[in-house]
């Protein structure tokens, strides 16, 4: 997104090395594309039996019955999208808050330690988040948060069904919150870096015109960095969609379709991790590979949507960071 000027290189003694370097970088870039294409193709090929057998039903059916040999991906797709959405709803405000505090508000001496703490969150392996979720967070949710939600929001007209269910602590909501905590450092780190890139003269000018701190944030910093922030959010979302271990621990791994966020559900990545080892029929295995392909498609759709959003924003607001 930063503009660059191609430099015309004159032919010199280093031209050979230069050419080799160009080849190397181009090779690295093409390799990624090739691997990506090969992965998508091999998953589509591996899942062809499931797609042939069930057709469109594979995406729209909530059945997942290995005994009868009926497989449908609706529950895992739904679970993946809903947990990721909850994660974003939680992670977005918190990450932006962290980034703004670190760049604009925090005393200079405290920026380093807090920044490192946020980055350390990103270094924790996801299985640790899963175990913490299961042993510490899920009992807390089951004992305190979920009964409160059912009691106070359970009979609301539209939101009500989301919060009705047994308070067992394991389910879509808990998984979404754990995922949210996991993606905070990714969004916060990028957001902090782009906020730091806002030119000081812009902010100083706003202050000189009598803006309060809040006005500087909302009128200068945020509009200036809008597209980079959206990029950061989708980076976090991409991670949430594919997260496996942490989700497996707290989501409940049940192929049940329920409106309630307190009920157990399943996600694409968790279903694959759980079931692949003992998937002993051809169709079962093919269905799991087809699930992997669908995760690929879902991620691609979400990221393309992000790209479109960025293009639209650019057209409306002109070039930003």
């Amino acid at each position: 997104m930063t503009a660059y000027v191609p430099i015309e290189l004159t032919r010199s003694r280093s031209a050979g090395a230069d050419r080799a370097f160009t080849l190397f970088t181009a090779g690295a870039a093409w390799l990624v594309l090739l691997l990506l294409g090969a992965t998508a193709l091999s998953m589509a090929w591996g899942g062809r039996l499931a797609f042939q057998t069930f057709g469109l039903d594979f995406i729209t059916s909530p059945d997942w019955d290995a005994v009868q040999g009926k497989f449908g991906a609706l529950v895992p797709i739904y679970g993946t999208l809903v947990t990721s959405a909850i994660a974003l709803i939680i992670a977005f405000p918190v990450s932006i808050g962290i980034a703004l505090f670190l760049t604009e508000i925090a005393p200079r001496w405290s920026r380093g330690p807090i920044g490192i703490a946020v980055e350390l969150l990103a270094a924790i392996p996801s299985i640790i988040y899963g175990m913490w979720g299961l042993f510490v967070f899920a009992p807390f949710m089951g004992a305190n948060v979920e009964p409160w939600l059912t009691e106070h929001l359970g009979d609301w007209p539209i939101l009500g069904p989301l919060f009705n269910g047994p308070p067992i602590g394991i389910g879509t909501l808990t998984a979404g919150i754990v995922l949210g905590i996991m993606i905070i450092p990714f969004i916060a780190a990028v957001a902090r870096d782009v906020f730091a890139e806002v030119p000081a003269p812009l902010k100083e000018a706003a202050v000189a015109l009598g803006s309060t701190r809040w006005e500087v944030l909302t009128k200068v910093t945020l509009p200036y960095t809008r597209s980079a922030i959206i990029g950061a959010i989708f980076l976090g979302l991409g991670r949430a969609l594919g997260e496996t271990m942490a989700v497996t621990f707290v989501l409940g791994n049940a192929h049940d379709l329920s409106a309630s966020l307190l009920m157990p559900s399943n996600s694409i990545a968790a279903a694959i991790a759980n079931e692949f080892t003992e998937a002993d029929s051809e169709l079962y295995r093919s269905s799991l590979i087809a699930l992997a392909f669908l995760l690929f498609v879902v991620t691609l759709i979400v990221l393309s949507f992000a790209k479109l959003l960025l293009l639209r924003l650019k057209r409306i607001h002109g070039r930003t960071l």
């Binding site: 080849l23 190397f24 181009a26 090779g27 093409w30 390799l31 090739l34 059945d63 997942w64 019955d65 290995a66 005994v67 009868q68 299961l134 042993f135 899920a138 009992p139 089951g142 047994p166 067992i168 602590g169 394991i170 389910g171 497996t248 409940g252 791994n253 049940a254 192929h255 049940d256 157990p264 399943n266 968790a270 991790a273 759980n274 079931e275 080892t277 003992e278 998937a279 002993d280």
Partner: protein, 345 residues
């Protein structure tokens, strides 16, 4: 220039393939070691036997606990010397894939609960009640069907949180096989298999996952292998057996089940021991079976593997008992030795 940009990644890919291949050949087992793969249920005792056997004879046994389904497909493909599965194969499937099958060890699956005010073996459940709990038909602990089996016990009105396995598993096969035998509606509904379409509940990965969930969720019920319930200090229920008496899981009640099962008439030992008829037999008793090719390509290794299992069945009893499994009854071991002598050439 353009052409070479395209060519480079292909070269890199080829190089990657090449290195993969050499890694593959390196990982192949050396001639002396016996290789096996399959059931996770049998892994602790099989690795203990392997360690003892290596100490005595110097022959190594390399067992990968990749799951029963994986064990079956690996031995069919001929990549391992033996496979291990918790779900026996039918005689015609064995004949088709030219495999022999025999049991090696017995274990039990217990219903564990997280219910305040009860102790191990005190809560009594009948087979149909257990099936109805897992079907989501019995929803609370003070349901009349549970109260009837537990006169005088205080049972809370709390909702039952059902916990099952999320991964395919021989434990689930034996558990659902039992439920199918005692409940016609279960048989018609979810049925039996290594993984079924559970009508209700949350899924935990592995025995440790189910044990973890049951410990975390108040008023829950789950099913795990006996050893997990013992080691985790979990509260298990007494189950009503086919003879009508309530029995608690123990090495003794498991061997009663094994002794009362009709092994002599089971072709290729294709027998699932659940709901065994003995008066004091525990109803959900499970067996792990070993699969070996009847006409092995490498006769020396097949013989080495058979020697290992002969050692395990004859001298591995203490080791099995120590790990909360039950060794096979002597009559069954004799039947196995005759069978193996006839089948594997």
């Amino acid at each position: 220039m353009r052409k070479s940009l395209w060519a480079l990644p292909i070269v890199a890919l080829l190089a990657a393939c090449g290195s993969n291949q050499s890694a593959g050949t390196k990982a192949a087992p050396s001639g002396a070691a016996i290789t096996g793969a399959g059931s996770t249920f049998v892994y602790p005792v099989l690795s203990a036997w392997a360690a003892d056997y290596a100490k005595q004879t110097g022959t190594k046994v390399n067992y990968q606990s990749i799951g029963s389904g994986g064990g079956v497909s690996q031995v069919k493909a001929g990549t391992v010397d033996f496979g291990a599965t918790d779900q026996p194969l039918a005689a015609d499937e064995l004949a088709k894939s030219k495999l022999a099958q025999f049991p090696v060890v017995i274990g039990g699956i217990v219903a564990v609960v997280n219910l305040s005010g009860t102790q191990s073996g005190k809560l009594r459940l009948t087979g149909p009640v257990l099936a109805d709990i897992y079907a989501g038909k019995i929803k609370t602990w003070n349901d009349p069907a549970i109260v009837q089996a537990n006169p005088g016990m205080h049972l809370p009105g709390a909702a039952i949180a059902v916990v099952h396995r999320s991964d395919g598993s021989g434990t689930t096969f034996n558990f659902t096989h039992y439920l199918s035998q005692v409940s016609p509606t279960w048989k018609a509904g979810p049925g039996e298999g290594k993984t079924v379409a559970w009508p209700t509940g949350v899924g935990g990965k592995g025995n440790e996952g189910v044990a973890g969930y049951v410990k975390q969720i108040p008023n829950s019920i789950g099913y795990v292998e006996y050893a997990y319930a013992l080691q985790g200090g979990m509260i298990y229920a007494a189950l009503q057996n086919a003879a009508g008496s309530f029995v608690t899981p123990s090495a003794e009640t498991f061997s009663n089940a094994a002794a009362s099962a009709d092994w002599a008439n089971a072709k290729d030992f294709d027998l699932v021991m659940t709901n065994a008829p003995g008066a004091n037999a525990y109803p959900i008793t499970a067996t792990t079976f070993v699969l070996m090719p009847t006409g092995p390509a490498d006769k020396a290794k097949s013989k080495a593997a058979l020697d290992f299992f002969r050692f395990a069945l004859e001298h591995g009893k203490d080791q099995a008992t120590k790990l909360d499994y039950v060794p096979l009854p002597a009559t069954l071991v004799q039947q196995i030795e005759t069978y193996v002598g006839q089948k594997i050439k």
